[in-house]
Amino acid sequence: MIDWMKYRYLYFSISSIVIIAGLFGLFQWGLNLGVDFKGGTIAEYKFSKSISTESISGNINKDIIDVNSIQETGKNTYLFRLPPLSSDQRQKVKEILLGIDDKAEELRFETVGPSIGPELVKKTIFALLISAGGILFWVAYQFKSIKFGVSAVLAMFHDSLVLIGLFSLLGHFFGAEVDFLFVTALLTILSFSVHDTIVVYDRIRETQKKTGEDLVDITNHALTQTMVRSLNNSMTIVFMLIALVLLGGTTIKWFAVALLIGTVSGTYSSPFVAVPILITWDQLEKKYKK
C-alpha cells in the first residue's frame, strides 16, 4: 500500500506554489475584467474581406469614441471593444463599418452599463456562500462530522483560489477575460471539487465501519482504492472540455478553459488537500486532548 499521507507537506507545498503564483498575478495585474463587470461594449463584425484594424480604429476614434481594441477572432471576423455606446454612437459606428465594406454584418453586440458589475459580484458572493453552506451542511450531516464538512469546503475554496489566481495570469498573458461565464464556472467547479472528495470520504467511512484502524491507515487505503476512479473520471470530463476549448468557438473558449482548470484542480484537491487537512486536523485534535 502506498503511504500517501507521508508526503502531505509536499501536497501542501504544491498547492501553495500555485496559489501564491496566482495571488502574485492578482496583486500585480488584477483580473482582466470583461464588460460584464466594468461596463462597456463588445461588438463582433464579419466582413467580406480583410480589413485594416488601424484605419478603422482611427476613423472611429476621430468621429465618435476611443476604440479600446480590435481583435481578429476568425476569418474576416473582428471583435471591437468600446466604452458603453449610446444609440446614436452605435449607429455611427455601423455607418463607418458599412462605409468600409457594405457587406459588413453585426454578429453580436453587447453593451453593459457600469452599474451591473458590482451587483454581479454581490450575487456571486451570495451564491458562493449558499452553495458552500449547503455542501458543508450536507457533508457534515452525511459523514456525521464537522471535520469532514469543513475540510471538503476548504478544498473547494482551494480550487476557487487556484482558478481565480490562474485566470489573473491567463488574463495578463493571453487576454482571458473574467465575465459572466467565468462566474458560472467558478460556481460549477465547487461541485466538481466536492464530488471527488465525497467519493474518497465514502471509502473512508466504509472502511471505518469495518475496521478500527488508525485514520491515517484508513485514508491511505481509501486513496489507493479511489485514485484510478478519480483519474479516469476526470479524463472523461477533460476529453469533453478539451474538445470544447479547441472546437467550441470563441464565445465559450475561456469558459471551457475555466472548467478545465476546475476539473484538474478539483481532482487534485480531493486526495491532496481535503484529506490531508482532515488528517492533520484529526491529529492536532488528538494531541490537544492528550
Binding site: L107, R108, L247
Partner: protein
C-alpha cells in the same frame, strides 16, 4: 421483473427517446456517381385527439437568444420621483406598456419580465429573431409622452401644458400627407379627449398649437378653426420609420416613468448557427474520445457503459424537447459536461468490481459493486445538485443570479446528473446482467 424484461423496457424507452431526438426533418443527401438524392424524411409531430383530450407536441428544440439570434435588453426604471405605493403600479404598467409595444412591433414570442435588486427596478425584454435591435430599443425605451400645449405669450414664446395628453388617444396610425406625400401620424381621440381637443382648438383659433413629445416640440400647427370629431394629424418632420415607431408608442401608451437601457446583448442569427454547429462538432469529438477511452479502460464492460452513455444522450435530448428546456450556449456546455460526468457512476462501479472479483464469482461481484458504489454515487451527486440549484435559482430569489444563460447551464447540468443516475446505474446494471453474465454461463 427479471433483468431481461427490464432490458426490453429500456430498449423501448430508448427507441421512443431516439425518435423524439430526431430533428423534424432528417436530411438525406446522396451524391454518388450520377446518383443524386436530396430529400428529407419528415418526422411527424405528436397529435393525439381522444374525446376531450388533445395532445399536440412538435418536439422541436427550443433555442435561446444566443443560438437562435435575438436581443436581450435590460431597462432600468427611474422611480425616484414616485412615492412607495405608486412604485408598484408604475412598474406593472411599465411592463404592460413595454410588452404592448413589443407586440405591436411584431416580434413573435417575446419575453418581458420585471426584476428588482436592491431597490433597482428593471424590465428585461427578450426579443428572439429581432433584425434591427436599435429600432427596437428606440421604440421600447422611449417614454413617448405626448402633450398638447397652448401659447400663452407669443412674443416670449411662453407655453402652457394642457391636460390633453397621449392618454386621451384612442388610436394612432401612420398616414401620408396628401399634398407633400410626407409621412405623418394620424390620431383619434377618445370621446373625452375629443371634447378637450374641441375646447382647446376653439380657444386657440389662428394660433399655433405646439405638440410635445417627451417635452420636446415636434410640431406646432396653426389652428384654422374649431375641430370637432376628435381626429388630428401630427405632421412632424418624420421619416416613415419614425412615424411608424411613434404610432406604435402612442398605441401602447406612454411609459409611466422614464427608463434607460443598462444592458444589451444582441446575437445575430449567423453567429447562433455557427455556435450550434461548432458545439455539435465539439460534442461529437468529445463523445467519441470518451467512448474509446471507456473501451480501452474497461473492455467489454466499457462497451456496456458506452451503450448506457448513448442511451443517456438520447434520453437527455428527448427530455430537452419534452419539458422543453430553452437551450443556450452555456446550456450546451452543461450538456457536454454532463456527458463527461455521466460515465462517472460506471467508472466507480467498475473500479469497485475489479476489487470484488478477486473475492467473489462474477454475478455476485457485479451485484455487490453496484450496491456498494451506490452510497458514494448518491452523496456525490446530491452535492453537485446543490450548486446546480443555487445557479438555476428556481425560486427566483432576487439576491441570486437570474440570468438566462447561467440558468440554462445549471438546468442542463442538473438534468444531466439526474438522468445519468438512471443510465449509469439502472441501465448499465441490467445490460450487464443480461449481456455479460449470460455469456459467462
Amino acid at each position: 421483473m427479471n433483468p431481461l424484461k427490464k432490458v426490453f423496457l429500456i430498449i423501448v424507452i430508448t427507441l421512443i427517446a431516439g425518435y423524439i431526438s430526431l430533428p423534424h426533418i432528417v436530411p438525406i443527401k446522396v451524391n454518388y456517381k450520377g446518383l443524386k438524392i436530396d430529400t428529407g424524411i419528415v418526422r411527424p409531430n405528436l397529435n393525439l385527439v381522444g374525446g376531450k383530450f388533445k395532445i399536440e407536441k412538435n418536439f422541436d428544440l427550443v433555442l435561446g437568444l444566443d443560438l437562435a439570434g435575438g436581443s436581450h435588453l435590460v431597462f432600468e426604471a427611474d422611480l425616484s420621483k414616485l412615492s412607495a405605493e405608486k412604485k408598484k403600479t408604475a412598474i406593472e404598467s411599465l411592463r404592460d406598456n413595454m410588452e404592448k409595444r413589443v407586440n405591436l412591433f411584431g416580434i413573435s414570442e417575446p419575453n418581458v419580465l420585471v426584476s428588482s435588486f436592491e431597490g433597482k427596478e428593471r424590465v428585461i425584454v427578450e426579443l428572439p429573431g429581432v433584425k434591427d435591435a436599435k429600432q427596437a430599443i428606440d421604440i421600447i425605451g422611449k417614454t413617448a409622452e405626448l402633450t398638447f400645449a397652448e401659447i400663452t405669450d407669443e412674443e416670449k414664446g411662453g407655453i402652457r401644458i394642457t391636460d390633453l395628453t397621449g392618454a386621451d388617444l384612442k388610436q394612432a396610425s401612420v398616414a401620408f400627407d396628401q399634398k407633400t406625400g410626407k409621412p405623418s401620424v394620424s390620431i383619434e381621440f377618445t370621446d373625452d379627449g375629443a371634447k378637450k381637443f374641441t375646447d382647446l382648438t376653439e380657444k386657440n383659433v389662428s394660433k399655433p398649437l405646439p405638440i410635445l413629445l417627451d417635452g420636446v416640440p415636434i410640431s406646432s400647427p396653426i389652428v384654422q378653426e374649431k375641430i370637432i370629431g376628435g381626429r388630428a394629424q401630427i405632421t412632424g418632420n418624420f421619416t416613415t420609420e419614425e412615424a411608424k415607431n411613434l404610432s406604435i408608442q402612442l398605441n401602447a401608451g406612454a411609459l409611466p416613468v422614464p427608463v434607460r437601457l443598462v444592458e444589451e446583448r444582441t446575437v445575430g442569427a449567423t453567429l447562433g448557427v455557427e455556435s450550434v454547429n461548432r458545439s455539435v462538432k465539439a460534442g461529437l469529438v468529445g463523445l467519441l474520445m470518451v467512448l474509446i477511452f471507456m473501451i480501452l479502460s474497461y473492455g467489454r464492460m466499457g462497451l456496456i457503459a458506452d451503450l448506457a452513455l448513448i442511451v443517456f444522450g438520447l434520453l437527455t435530448l428527448a427530455l430537452y424537447k419534452i419539458i422543453p428546456i430553452v437551450l443556450t450556449l452555456p446550456g450546451i456546455a452543461g450538456f457536454l459536461l454532463s456527458v463527461g460526468m455521466a460515465v462517472d457512476s460506471n467508472i466507480l462501479i467498475f473500479e469497485r468490481f475489479k476489487e470484488e472479483i478477486k473475492r467473489r464469482d462474477f454475478p455476485n461481484a457485479l451485484e455487490v459493486s453496484f450496491g456498494r458504489a451506490w452510497d458514494s454515487i448518491r452523496d456525490a451527486n446530491i452535492a453537485t445538485l446543490v450548486t446546480a440549484f443555487v445557479l438555476a435559482n428556481p425560486l427566483d430569489f432576487n439576491f441570486l443570479h437570474t440570468s438566462g444563460p447561467v440558468r440554462g447551464f445549471a438546468l442542463t447540468l442538473a438534468l444531466g446528473i439526474v438522468i445519468s443516475l438512471f443510465t449509469g446505474v439502472v441501465v448499465s446494471r441490467n445490460l450487464l446482467r443480461v449481456l455479460i453474465t449470460e455469456v459467462k454461463k
